[in-house]
Subunit: 340 residues, 3 copies
């Protein structure tokens, strides 16, 4: 992909690793254990797959000390091979260079401030009083409303919308189709019709966050919706108004958090999992995929709901019995009493 | 946020409320019970939180007659404090003014008709025979295809797509990323390959509806997909072709309705809930979050499916037993028969 | 919708059908069984609804031989009425004609290659080294990054984003808001902070696929994310990095497939269903709506998880018992042992 190339020795020196075998072998790319060929570097993160090493044609493998004897080629010894691989692989990534400056087609409000080192692409709109920081990249088709702020070195990749009062920290990456700061879903019923509750708050995104494609984060009703630093959201996630997500929490695709819920730090929210409104989840909680959190969680740990997948015929029988579960439990209790 | 300011007396007169305490106190903003400071107005909607009143530093509180004795400051007495708050808070909201006229960059088909009082923003495309009504706002980056109609005072906030044959009523708000009128998912298997069933219908959206960010409503196969008036959809919702949603129904984020389902009036569909195709749900039905409706519902009321969240270890044990539930019920029955 | 018109005889000849009744009757449109009027053609796909034929005012009905006696008007006899209807209805569909050429507002990198017969609409961006094939349609507001390829006769309807290294085959339709080739959600925890694992792969979409509105398909980490030919995805679907989906598989709206899962050919994935990462599903598997696949599936067939919907009061009782299910099963076992 790029012309980057280094020897095993050079990589070892750069990342503080130990070399087993021929350190002069050149590496010009990275690949999977099974897909790697000559000149490519791969990794073994899980010793369970150690027996796949023998078949790998990679020139260099990153692995743990204990797996080193099984290495078929040059080995780089690391405490955490996956993290080390991530760091080395980044050398072979060549994100497009975005030149500083504002594309001629962009429509920028006179009151907006764009840092000279920022890149603003074609068909971008920037509203009143908004600020784009140093080295920020506003990709093609982004719409930034009024009173927004994009921090230094933050990238809105393409077609991102910041509606209003959205403040994003530094080094954040926002993927295409994301909508930040849309009106929260605040409704009141009045004489048989809905009226909107004004959404006067904003959205605050901490440094080093990542927000996946087509994800939505609504702005708060009276205070802000907040993501602390280093929060990682996958694609198609819904974050309601006034939600607060703690630092280093990661949420997988299609998960959803209803309004005013508060999620702690270092939580892992599984794919398509849901959190009801106004709940609190403490730090270091894992919610497995497609589970629904219906009350606050005060203890770290892993939580789940749902039923296991089976063939549809068995499932129909068991699911029908679920409707009788309370009655069944009462019958069991009655049986127990009857017994002498 | 804005320069709007009024005294408690002025607000009381405007909204027909009774003042307790000093009516001359000025209000220049709104806030939460705990966050409000001097010059700010807040509300107490639920008497359960009455003991939080003492700590509030708000200058004015909207509350019910029975909570008035606990008011720490000027009180405005309302039958429904939340609705009254919504109406007053709207005075402090200052949505950006959109000047009438078509931005120079917009690409408008010669056969389209744009009302003189409508606003059409940068990078908008309007296709053949489409009509934009009086006072409508077509925000930046919207794409309106052929044969569409946007009613008076309706706002497409930004980056909304109307594919074709989409007719939207008056005073509707459509949030960024919404796609209306895409091809319904109509397929027929023919000799081992899928063929598309042409989607010749359109989409009709009634007056006063709201459609949340990145929500999709497909156009009908032969007839229209319909939202009656005052339907409120949150973000990331999927509405399949030929669905019909009754007036005043609200759906929370990530919910989904499959093709040809018919949902009544005044229904509440919880977050990430699903409705299978071709079903009918009568008026005034509430579906709780992440529930799946698999057969028609003929009686108003609240309906649910799913299992409760527990720690993963307990969940694993119970979930494993779910697979044996039918067998367990049979064993209980056998036990009962065996007993004399 | 269009001026297309044909007699029953002409349609029969064109599609190899047998006519019962007056073959000279003209058809100028298609409609549902109940909605069709004079001059319109409809179909009866399911003999169960045969008694609805009597009330239809359609001029022509496509149906099976065995239903022909109940036809109220001219009948066209087909083995598969629905598929035949789909083919005939297509004649009455008039998708907008897109003239070859690049709109003056489009921003095309000098190294990109656009086929002369392709249509590139307003506000489109095409990046470095990207290729647009013969007869392809790139609708308004699409953003195509670097190193992408759009095959002949493929249509990106509007506001589609291809981030980077996305290769799409021929005759593919991509609906508005779709994001292809965004960074996969690859994270590694390093000293209490997340670091990104570079996503160096791409996305490959086979011929004749369809990708619904606001759906996301991430690019692979080291190898490509792959959809084989004729895969059909509905709206708001999440496909994680390195997923592989076999030919002719269809997925309904809001479903999700986590990273590195492999789905076979001719599978049907229901709405809002989920597949966990790294699993394999063999050919011809059906997953019902909102089910979660948590282990690999090796046998064709229909699979489900979840519990049935009931009124909330019953559900609460039964759901509470779910938490005691393992204990209940143990009590039943104990009862059985106690019995002599």
């Amino acid at each position: 992909m790029t012309a980057f190339q280094a020897t095993a020795d050079e990589l070892a020196q750069r990342f503080g690793l130990i070399v087993h075998g021929d350190g002069t072998v050149p590496v010009h790319g990275v690949a999977t254990l099974s897909g790697a060929g000559q000149g490519q570097l791969t990794f073994l993160a899980n010793s369970r797959y150690r027996n796949q090493l023998a078949d790998s044609r990679a020139s260099v493998v990153i692995l743990r000390q204990e797996d080193a004897p099984a290495a078929p080629a040059t080995a780089l010894i690391a405490k955490d091979p996956y993290t080390t691989f991530a760091r080395i692989a980044a050398l072979f990534d060549a994100p497009p260079v975005r030149e500083p400056g504002v594309h001629a087609s962009a429509v920028i409000d006179a009151s907006a401030r764009i840092a000279p080192s920022a890149h603003v692409g074609p068909f971008v709109v920037v509203g009143a009083n908004s600020i784009i920081g140093e080295g920020a990249v506003i990709g093609p088709g982004c719409v930034i409303g009024d009173d927004c702020e994009v921090g230094a070195a933050t990238e809105l990749i393409a077609r991102v919308t910041l509606v209003t009062r959205v403040r994003i920290g530094q080094r954040v990456r926002v993927h295409p189709g994301v909508v930040l700061g849309a009106d929260g879903f605040g409704l009141a019923m009045d004489a048989g019709r809905w009226i909107n509750v004004p959404q006067l708050g904003g959205v605050r995104i901490g440094d080093d966050c990542e927000i996946g494609a087509n994800t939505c984060i609504d702005r708060g009703a009276l205070e802000d919706t907040v993501l602390e630093e280093d929060v990682r959201l996958d694609n198609l996630i819904q974050v309601g108004h006034n939600v607060h997500i703690g630092a280093h929490t990661a949420m997988a695709g299609c998960s959803a958090v209803a309004g005013s819920a508060k999620i702690g730090r270092y939580c892992l929210i599984g794919g398509a999992a849901g959190v009801l409104g106004h709940l609190e989840i403490c730090d270091k909680v894992t919610i497995t995929a497609m589970s629904l959190v219906t009350s606050s969680i005060r203890e770290p740990g892993q939580y789940s709901s749902g039923t296991p997948l089976t063939d549809n015929r068995s499932w129909r029988k068991n699911a029908a019995r679920f409707k009788q579960l309370d009655a069944l439990a009462r019958r069991v209790q009655a049986n127990e009493k009857e017994q002498p």
